[in-house]
């Protein structure tokens, strides 16, 4: 080999080595590790799996866009088994043993309260997905992705009242029946006050324990009370069970509002047609006019179908989860930092555009506006019907 050839070969090797080193350096940058728990097993796991899928979709997309601060993002997710006490232990472990850089909140109020306790002890920022009782979230570095507003027990029933006032036959009387599950019970008690102030006559008030098996007598009492509207403070499948029991005694309730029903079963069953409920996002215009939302709806449907989830539409839970990650990304990008305090201080004055609307965190316990809307089951699908600016094109409240 000639001298020139040897020099060229040496240069090529050196350049190649430099290239490899540079690439290795970029790839080898330590990832930002975000730790969280979700209810992957246990009674809350049906919804927990939705949050898991959304987190995976968001982190995949985030890394495809280059990650955060030039580093990849790694999500360390643990299963809290739907147990708030275990969530507390796992968050402690994430911070002390796994030494994660940042935290992401769990799903469901009980687990969120546990995580808040740990975050507070270690001065960590915590963005939660679905904190249902704002008055309990007193930690100043906790930020909610679910835009309930600081006083949902007053604002949510007011929105419901305004919505049903637009119905073809506005109600004059109401039956309020409710589970004692904390995050729906306080809303139902608020509804009693609001409806009274608005001039509705309460013809029935009933409470049942969460886990109630027999809705027959409750259905019979509602039928007996002959209300114009039924407010059902239910969660999960309770609303379906109540409507099934009503169907069995040949009773179709007039306007009926359900607080937090399982979206899939409530949309699918024949007896649930025209059921009203609360929402922050449904997969139709104007929500999907936002290209980020439209893309998310498409990706979620594909991934949820592949994962075998029975309900593949984006609604409140998936939207709140997506929003939580959006708030997280926005605070890191805006502060160019992983400093929890800096991120929290920024969020307190920020307005973050999300798929459910623009969120702010400058009111009680870092809650902002109440962005809750009213949706209705129409032809086995949920459509937003109130307020008008968020209603699906041409959709209005229909009577059963």
């Amino acid at each position: 080999m000639s001298k020139m050839a040897k020099l060229a070969a040496a240069a090529a090797i050196a350049l190649g080595a430099l290239g490899v080193l540079g690439e290795a350096q970029a790839q080898g940058a330590k990832p930002i590790v975000v730790g969280s728990t979700l209810a992957l097993t246990g009674p809350l796991s049906a919804t927990g799996l939705v949050h898991k899928l959304v987190g995976e979709i968001y982190v995949d997309d985030l890394n495809r866009r280059g990650g955060l601060l030039g580093r990849k993002v790694e999500w360390k997710l643990m299963d809290d088994q739907s147990k708030p006490d275990l969530a507390r232990t796992l968050y402690e472990q994430l911070l002390t043993a796994d030494k994660v850089d940042l935290l992401m909140g769990p799903y469901a109020t009980g687990a969120i309260l546990s995580a808040i306790g740990v975050a507070q002890r270690y001065n960590k920022l915590l963005i939660s997905h679905t904190m249902g009782i704002p008055s309990l979230a007193k930690y100043d570095m906790h930020f909610p992705a679910w835009s309930l507003g600081p006083n949902p027990q007053a604002t949510v029933p007011t929105t419901v009242f305004d919505a049903v006032a637009q119905a073809p036959k506005p109600p004059k009387t109401v039956a309020i029946v409710t589970s004692k599950f904390p995050s729906v019970h306080f809303l139902s008690l608020g509804a009693r006050e609001v409806f009274k102030q608005k001039g509705l006559t309460e013809v029935l008030f009933l409470e049942w324990e969460f886990g109630n098996r027999d809705f027959g007598p409750i259905a019979a009492r509602v039928k007996d009370a002959k209300p114009d509207m039924v407010w059902s403070g239910d969660i999960g499948l309770e609303g379906n069970m109540l409507l099934e029991a009503m169907k069995k005694i040949d009773y179709v309730p007039p306007l009926h509002v359900h607080t937090y029903p399982a979206p899939g079963p409530m949309a699918a069953a024949p007896e649930t047609d025209k059921a009203l409920s609360l929402t922050i996002f449904e997969e139709h215009a104007p929500f999907t006019a936002n290209p980020v939302a439209a893309q998310f709806v498409k990706t979620f449907k594909e991934r949820a179908t592949a994962a075998g989830l029975p309900y593949t539409a984006v609604e409140t839970q998936a939207a709140a989860s997506f929003t939580a990650w959006r708030i997280f990304e926005a605070s890191v990008v805006a502060t160019k930092s992983l400093d929890d305090r800096k991120m929290a201080d920024w969020l307190k004055t920020a307005q973050v555009p999300t798929i459910q609307g623009t969120l702010r965190f400058d009111r009680g316990n870092n809650f902002g506006d109440d962005l809750m809307r009213i949706k209705q089951v129409q032809n086995k699908a949920w459509v937003t019907v109130w307020p008008k600016q968020w209603a699906a094109p041409g959709a209005t409240i229909k009577m059963p």
Binding site: G211, N212, P217, A220, R221, K248, D250, A262, P265, A269
Partner: protein
């Protein structure tokens, strides 16, 4: 408090009877295995739900009529019961330990159900659910009516069998004093296998009717344990008619508490009744 109308009260009593029928059907196998085999078989609840999910699957995926699934599920579950009894006898599991072992098995069944069918709610949608009978303004849905009928038939049939057949007498003798029964030629081992298989087969029957009336989710398994235990203990261990009668009393009491007072009082009813009964019949077994 305004007193409820007669129609409301009657419909509530009917609803309580139907629910009591389900308590009785689930409690039947549990009470027999507890009273005659000395096993507190918590897996019974797991088997009820497993049967319900299998019925759901066979109906919704393969299009089999839910009642016809009994033809497959009952013998299959009988075999499972036989194997379980063989294993428990092989390792000489005591009454107390059977509680722990079967609790563990129930957790495993719950995990299995969640793995296969996920934690999401499953509802068996069939023509049976649409059928109901109306009489004097009262409504009786077909699935609940079938449950009550089958529960009464099973309890009555087993009571007759236990009372009037040699097989039933041998089972009672075995439960009373196994060594003496053996001295009279009773094959306790074979009878235990038969009885355990029958109890698990009864769980399969209960599961099918459970699927017809209720929405399924794996974690509901444990929400039925307390009230069915109360029905079994009130009805008397090993007594085939007891769980049904106690279940009916509990169901109607719960329904009346809901109709007259508040639905949130219902869970207190079953255990209040049990405590009262134990106070007045402390030696009741």
């Amino acid at each position: 408090m305004t007193f409820p109308s007669l129609g409301l009260l009657s419909q509530s009593v009917l609803s309580g009877l139907f629910l009591g029928g389900m308590y009785g059907l689930i409690g039947l196998g549990l009470g027999l295995s507890w009273g005659l085999l000395g096993q507190i078989n918590l897996t019974h609840f797991g088997f009820v739900f497993l049967s319900a999910y299998l019925c759901y699957h066979l109906t919704m995926v393969w299009g089999v009529d839910p009642l016809l699934t009994l033809g497959l599920l009952v013998p299959a579950f009988f075999a499972v019961g036989v194997v379980m009894q063989w294993a428990l006898a092989r390792f000489r599991v005591s009454t107390f330990n059977s509680l722990l072992v079967t609790f563990g098995l129930t957790v495993m069944i719950e995990a299995l159900i969640q793995k296969i069918w996920t934690a999401d709610f499953r509802k068996l949608q069939t023509g049976y659910g649409e059928e109901k009978f109306s009489f004097l303004g009262l409504y009786a849905p077909l699935p609940e009516l079938l449950t009550l009928t089958v529960s009464a038939a099973a309890a009555g049939g087993i009571w007759l069998l236990m009372r009037y057949t040699d097989l039933g007498k041998a089972m009672r003798a075995m439960a009373e004093d196994a060594p003496i029964a053996a001295a009279f030629g009773v094959n306790a081992r074979a009878l235990a296998l038969l009885l355990s298989g029958s109890c698990v087969a009864l769980a399969a029957i209960a599961g099918v009717f459970f699927a017809l009336s209720f929405t399924l989710t794996p974690t509901q398994i444990f929400s039925w344990v307390g009230v069915v235990f109360a029905a079994v203990m009130m009805g008397g261990l090993g007594n085939p008619l007891g769980p049904l009668l106690a279940g009916l009393v509990i169901g109607v009491s719960e329904a009346l508490a809901m109709a007259v007072f508040s639905p949130s009082w219902a869970p207190i009813v079953s255990f209040s009744l049990l405590i009262v009964l134990l106070l007045f019949r402390p030696a009741h077994r």
